[in-house]
Structure formats: structure tokens, C-alpha cells
Symmetry: C2
Subunit: 320 residues, 2 copies
Amino acid sequence: MFRSALLRSCKPRLVRCLSSRVSNPNLAAMAGDDYLYHIGLNPASDDLAATFGDVRFVCLGGSVPRMGEFAARAAHELGVAPSAAQPIGKTDRYSLFKVGPALISSHGMGQPSMSILLHEIAKLLHYAGARDPVWMRMGTSGGVGVAPGTVVVSTEGVNGMLESGYELPILGRRTSRPSLFGAATVGAIVDAAAARPETAAMVAGGRVVRGKTMSADCFYEGQGRLDGALCEYGEADKMAFLRRAHDKGVRNIEMEALQFGAFTHRLGIRAAACCVTLLDRLEGDQVRASPEQLAEWDAALGDVVLSYIKHELGLPPPKC
Amino acid sequence: MFRSALLRSCKPRLVRCLSSRVSNPNLAAMAGDDYLYHIGLNPASDDLAATFGDVRFVCLGGSVPRMGEFAARAAHELGVAPSAAQPIGKTDRYSLFKVGPALISSHGMGQPSMSILLHEIAKLLHYAGARDPVWMRMGTSGGVGVAPGTVVVSTEGVNGMLESGYELPILGRRTSRPSLFGAATVGAIVDAAAARPETAAMVAGGRVVRGKTMSADCFYEGQGRLDGALCEYGEADKMAFLRRAHDKGVRNIEMEALQFGAFTHRLGIRAAACCVTLLDRLEGDQVRASPEQLAEWDAALGDVVLSYIKHELGLPPPKC
């Protein structure tokens, strides 16, 4: 009630600030003197509101070249000047782009690498006064009982114990936060994919599915692969675990969604993890698809995310 | 005894294989059909022995440009053709260089990102038949009670509970492995730094120290910073934790040494984590040093690692 009254009475800038998603009373005391070290932007010297105040979508994916290509593609499909697909800020760790209403960035591999970026983008959007954008992870993953090339939209993230809790020691105390993705955002993405001609066939063909996503802090042992430098179990143990994960609703395994879901859920950020599968782990451990096949699946993931963005923006489908 | 007899009787190629450091019986059954997906090399199609069989040093650090610059510098100081400082294999996730006897690579940020690289480099060196190289992480870190610009050579890695155990769920079971760095390798690096004119003043000035390194899966909350997007504690809680860490022998905090120490210790790989501190966390959270100062400290870290490599190779000091 207090907040509603405040929203009605306050100036536009204050309204924007209230709609941002951070939870740290110390930031106000810093009075904008907060250098976002890993992305190289500073609210004290960069006009973040001018550049990022209109962000409605945040698109994050692992590798630098993949997200650079997605930025160029997004500029083309959203009718934004190609010059928008140039990185902003420091580029030694992440590459960040602003394409129309979309902030696009690489996040590296693994939950800790992603975590740094999430903290700094949340602060960036807070200082910029962005209004409740939707955050999407666009990842690659190993499928569990789904065909390669399927896009799994996560309902929740689970850890290597198959539990929905992202664990992090903070000041010597173990914390665990649930990793949940809102059904409304997940549903909106799947519904947009079904409604748009670019992606309707994928949905009809069962290539866009909802499911739990297991995130591991390791590509080899942590995901039950048999081909790491170190392996202390056998094929039967691995298959028993993967089948147990499948029975619990896990449809893919990767290395970020759990932390992403925990961070965004804790801050009330609308979010979804959309990951394409490159293999079915029930069939093997190695990625055997050709570069052409991998590029096609990556494009299909981009189709799903761009369908949602264009649907939200009310853009027409492409002409045939 | 069996191994000694085998070493005496077998062919050179077998001897080389026995000296490598992996622990996975499944690799033999793959008969070399093992695509190292994230670095883009394949023992079935690339002559790994010809390129990597002579590796004696593995130098790993977080960012791509920083390790590219180190590769160029190493080529210059080790008398290797500058063309060696060109990346090998795929470059979308890591950048890997071979400079004389040194394999140099970026590893991204965080333990999971580093873990992928460690598995694939261990397999790479196994297939190449490299003979027991020394692996070194060259990182940046926050100091705990040491002056900015100090190089901390880790004696062991500890987690956010200040315990020496790297935890990873494997097939739904929690595992914990000790993270220890051999005193002989740590001592050899510090002794070389003291003996070489390039680095003797650093050691004499207390800017090369041994200590425990805490690794967190987060730059903000996991390291007790007050300036993340999310913070549920205050200055006094933070300082109490950092002082407790210091009392337990922790001299710096970063995001990789714990997993690095656990992996290499488990496989019997000689290893050291050498990280330069960019600030003293007992004084603050933000990195305030100028780009010039940061470059100078990074160069000092390179001095320590190159002093060790040149000392091992018997190379003379540079002419004044």
C-alpha cells in the first residue's frame, strides 16, 4: 500500500528505481560510486540510463562468438541498426551488446562465471532504471531422454543431488536457495513459439519441451560422463543415475540454470532458461554432431528466443 | 615393482604413456577416439605427441587477452619464435598456446570453467605422452592482510567454510577431495624467485608469500563483499569472517585454486597456484587500482612464473 501510494506520487526517475531488482541496502550508501569491474561500466561516469534504461529483455549465453552472432541476428530481425551489435564496456571476460530493447551478453562457462555477470547486470539495470525486463539464458546442454536439437525450457533448476537448491557458503555459513522459474514466463515463451510461424513446427514436433534442468559444476564427473581425465564409476552406475534423473523430471543437464534460477527467483526477476540439447546422454557422452548440425540447433534456439521477443513487441512474422 | 619392470622392458611410447597423469580405465577402451570438445583437439586426427609431447610447464590464467599477452612475453623471454604465440584449436571458450616447453591457456572464471579445461588438458598431455609437467595457475585475487601487488603461492585451497575440501556431487553422491599443493613445488617457485635477479627484490620486500587460498563460487556474496546485487549481512559480519579467515592462514581469496589443487593432488600432478592480489579485502571491496597499476602487478606475477621456468631450464638472467 505504501509502495502504491509512493508510485502514484513520485517522479518518473523514482518510479523506475523502485521497479529495479536488487536487494542490498549498501548500494544506496555508495551513491553511484560503484564500478562494475568485470563489465567495465560505472554509474558515476557512464550514462547508464540513456543506454540501458529501455531494456526489456536480457539474453545471456555462454560463448563470446555465439552471443556476438546472436546480437547481429537480433539486430537484423528486430530492425535495429547493425552497428548495435558492437560490444560495450570491457571485453576481456564478457562481451555485452545493446540491441534495441535487448541487452545481450556472454556469461562464460559455469555457475560462478555466470554469477558475476548476474550481479553486475542486476546493478547495471538498477542504476539505469530499467523496468522489470525478462532475463533469458540461451544455453547448450546434454539431453536426458529427449532427441538432440530439442529446446528445453526449464521449470526449475536442480543440483547434482537432484534437489532444487543452489548452495553457496556465505561468511562461513552454508546457504541454499530454491531455483524456480515462474510458470507465467515459461508458458509465455512456449506459447509464443507455438503461435509464431518461425517456430510453430518445432513445438508441434515436440522439439520445445518443459522440464527440470540439472546443473553441475563439472562437465565430466559432475555430469556422470565416463570420458573425463578422472572417473571412479562405470557405465551401469552412470545409467542408473541418468535414469533416476529422468524419472524425477530432468530433461537436460548443463552448468548454469540452477544458479540463474536461484538468483532471479530471490530477486523477483522474471526469467527463463532455454537450452538446446546437443546429444541424448542416455545414448552416450561425446558430442558427435557435425558443425553444420550444431549451427542448425543453435539457430533453432535463437528462433525460440526471438519468437518470444518479437511476440512481446508485436512484430509481424517474417515475409516468406 | 610391476611398473618398474614394465618401464625397463617396454617401448618408449609406452613409457611416455605411463608417465602421464589421468585416472580413467575407460580411456584405453576409447582407443584414441576422444574428441576434446571444448579445446577442439582430437587424438584421432591431430598429432598431439608432435605438438605437446615436450610440454614441461602448463600455465593457466583466467582471461583470454591476459594469457595471450603472457604467451607473447614467454616467447620473447624463452627465446621462442613469436609465431608460437598463436592460439591452437578452438578459441570460442579457451585460448591455448604452445610456447617452447610451455602450454599456456586461459581457463575462464570460476572452478567449473577451469575444471573442464583441466580434464581436457590432462587427457591432451596423456595422449601426447608428456612427461610429468608442472602446472601453474596464474591468477588475480583479493588479498587478506597482505599489500596489494603481493603474489601469494598457495599451500592449500580452502572452501567458503574455510575447510580444505573441494565438494562435488557425483552420480548423486557428495564427494569431497583435499586441495593440497606439494611443498616441493611451492618451495621451488619461491626459491627460484628469490634466486633470480628479476624477482629477488620482490621476495626480499615480502611481495611473494606462501599462504592458504580461499576459493568461492561467487565474486560477491561468496567472498563476503558488501557491493553485490544481493547482500544479507553487514560490515561487522564481513570483517569478522575475513579476520577469521586470516587467523586460519588464508592470505587471498579467488575462484579457482581449490578445485585446481583438488584435481592435481588427486592425479599426482605437480602444481602451484600463484595469484597476485589487487586489493586488501581488510580495507575494502572494490578494485580501485589504476589500469597502469594493475598492469604492473600482472607483470610481477608473470615475473615470478617466468623466473621459475627459466630457472628450471637453466636460462641466464636478462642482460641489464
